[in-house]
Symmetry: C2
Subunit: 421 residues, 2 copies
């Protein structure tokens, strides 16, 4: 566990210039820098506040730039050097402020003409950040306690189609899912408080079903109601859900933003299910933007209990290796005395099939395994869909191949047939 | 002025598949969609809530994909078609909610396997959004009233080196700049409330100088103090600045995020100077992320009075054409009865030289023209630096070439020599 005294950030950069000189510009821009000397500037002031290059390692050379707009030396054919770089900043430049951390480690630098590629890979923070922010209030242990699920992933689903349903239709589907044995349900990220399906009516209708089911069976299904909205709306909706006996709220990170999520992290008395929609625009160009490993730390510190990580063999563009790196990051402690572990949420095209691969790569069952079609489109219906996922995880954690485990388990057997594609 | 009844968004997409089929997936994902039919789904529900393809025009074909990870047809050499697409959504899917608008127009779609490129170009909103959000409370007229500057741009600067100065050093430099005739000063985005330069001390020291200068000269320099921080900190700092007689506060959009900026827009009694640091990671890959034309509308509606747009011949990667499109967008009304105009802020490597080109391209002086070295590094000092910028804008608006106008104006003449590079 590294708890540095300075703020540290790792980057992948690409430049046609001398890498060290380019990175010096980057360090200057993000600390003491302007491009001309100004009155009052002294070597002492610079030393006190300057960002420092901790390491720089060229890893690759290319003939073509990854991004347009970068400069190149005036003579010769340019060679674009990719390098891994670590910068550090004095803590006293900004103090323990997450919003100001953003401007420091991920501010103007992405636009510097020196770079034809720049991506932030990781950050490491002094302990003062752990003292200044709450981190997840529930995390894995709290989520397991509220759902009563131990020793295996929570089996979850999403209520779609996202915006076609009214409150009663949502509640009917919730009833079906509760009876199917689901552990966790979430609203779609497109479903918040639209006139088609007002939040309050939906929350009341859904919680009536959830509470009824809990009364009859002892099993309280966790429903993450999407409270995304303006701050007063989020407060009101949170209080309503808590008052109705709900056990989770959901918020879209890129819609709410950092200061809103920090507020939510402070006032929430329920696990925060953090949705990452919009993540694609932050990450999909390989030499630009954010690695999830860096990004998720900020939201965990702000209080996110569950973090979306996509899933193996997903319907999106992300490679499996990247998905697993994201999930591992969520389960890696941030500080020795305050690990801030968030439960990774696997979703997108998930069915029984991906359970063994997910377990083998992650080595943990501390996750939410969410399937849409993987449950609803099971040939024998949603109950068989949920059963097939539980059985797949039993097989995975027992080290038994799915096909073997499916021999006397028809739900799993039919799932393996139905989701073969 | 288009005020649609549905929510509209324009995109540039790139796909190896049939563009219409790919865009149908995108429309489905962002409204009624999952990839398998679910119980309760009816044609009526779908029609009520589905996103609609309003237009689709293929503009280019390429052999190579812009972004990795996309799918391609199973047979044949792929051809990547670029197309301009307009989607629309029923207003009732989400209502007048800016955070939920984000999830709808800029959510999961960037990761869809169908696309090797996807960028949001513009958005158009029903009038209900104008009713739900404040928009800029000051804008151009309010900023001119508070500074007393009419008929020309505000001449502004940034106090750097950003984190080397303490409060007294910042105040000394402020004094120098006031005496140099500056209209507007802003904190650096890396300067908020770090232990090196605590906000309250800096605000008090700076405002003492600004108020003294106003008392002696009648000219109140606008100083945008960077209040970026957690919500309670931003409230406290805003109230302090207002109490001290300050006339502007600054916030970093990507650090604060949307819900925090909406709150700030609601409670602020001062013009909000909105800094876009981090914009590079949202925009620098040409076939990914956000066009500024789309992005700035969201922040204007939330209440941003001044929006950074970079500058002509800037030190970053952005082309001049893009800078001007951004500035024009800020000056283009959003709604007939609520234009929400924000004052564009030109900065980055600006000096007297770019004034004529900026005026010619924009056709307006409703802007803040901010220079660092262009003022501080003038051979005859900051007063000559400020004078050279004013003179350059006089020349530009009079249609006189800079070199002619400089003949009997030494400040401008020396600037043209010093910043020739």
């Amino acid at each position: 566990m590294t708890e540095p005294t300075r703020i540290e950030a790792d980057y992948l950069i690409e430049t046609a210039f001398d890498p060290r000189q380019a990175v010096e510009v980057m360090a200057g821009e993000q600390s003491s820098g302007t491009f001309v000397p100004v009155p009052g500037e002294t070597p002492e002031l610079k030393e006190r506040s300057a960002a420092r290059i901790e390491s720089l390692e060229v890893v690759e050379e290319l003939r073509e730039p990854s991004l347009p707009g970068a400069g190149r030396p005036k003579t010769g054919e340019p060679v674009y050097k990719r390098a891994r770089v670590t910068l550090s900043w004095p803590f006293a430049n900004l103090g323990a402020s997450l919003p100001n951390l953003m401007a420091t480690v991920a501010g103007n630098l992405f636009e510097l003409k020196q770079f034809s590629g720049l991506r932030i890979l990781d950050i490491r923070l002094p302990h003062a950040f752990a003292e200044a922010y709450p981190g997840p209030k529930f995390g894995v242990a709290g989520t397991r306690r509220l759902t009563g699920v131990e020793g295996r992933p929570l089996i979850g689903t999403i209520i779609k189609p996202s915006v076609g349903f009214g409150p009663e239709e949502t509640a009917s589907l919730t009833k079906l899912l509760c009876e199917a044995g689901i552990d966790f349900i979430k609203d779609d990220e497109l479903q918040a408080d639209g006139p088609h399906c007002p939040f309050e009516e939906r929350a009341r209708a859904v919680m009536r079903v959830i509470n009824d089911h809990a009364e009859h069976t002892g099993k309280k299904v966790m429903y993450a109601l999407n409270i995304t909205g303006d701050l007063d709306e989020m407060r009101r909706r949170h209080d309503l859900v808590r008052g109705l006996g709900g056990t989770s709220i959901m918020a879209s990170l890129n819609s709410v933003g950092l200061v809103g999520m920090i507020e939510l992290g402070r006032f929430s008395e329920l696990p925060i299910h953090a949705h990452r929609n919009g993540w694609g625009y932050l990450s999909r160009a390989p030499l630009l933007g954010w690695s999830y490993v860096a990004w998720q730390k900020i939201w965990r510190l702000a209080g996110a209990d569950h973090m979306h990580v996509n899933g193996l063999g997903n319907k999106f563009c992300e490679e499996d290796e990247s998905v697993i790196a994201s999930a591992r990051a969520c389960l890696t402690p941030m500080f020795a005395d305050k690990p801030c572990i968030a439960m990774p949420v696997f979703s997108s095209g998930q069915s029984a099939k991906q359970a063994p691969g997910t377990f083998a790569a992650l080595g943990s069952t501390d996750l939410i395994y969410a399937a849409g079609g993987g449950i609803m489109a099971h040939p024998d219906g949603p109950a068989a869909g949920v059963a097939s996922l539980r059985e797949a995880w039993e097989a995975a954690t027992s080290g038994v191949p799915l096909a073997d485990y499916a021999k006397d388990r028809p739900a799993l057997a039919k799932a393996l047939g139905a989701y073969a594609g």
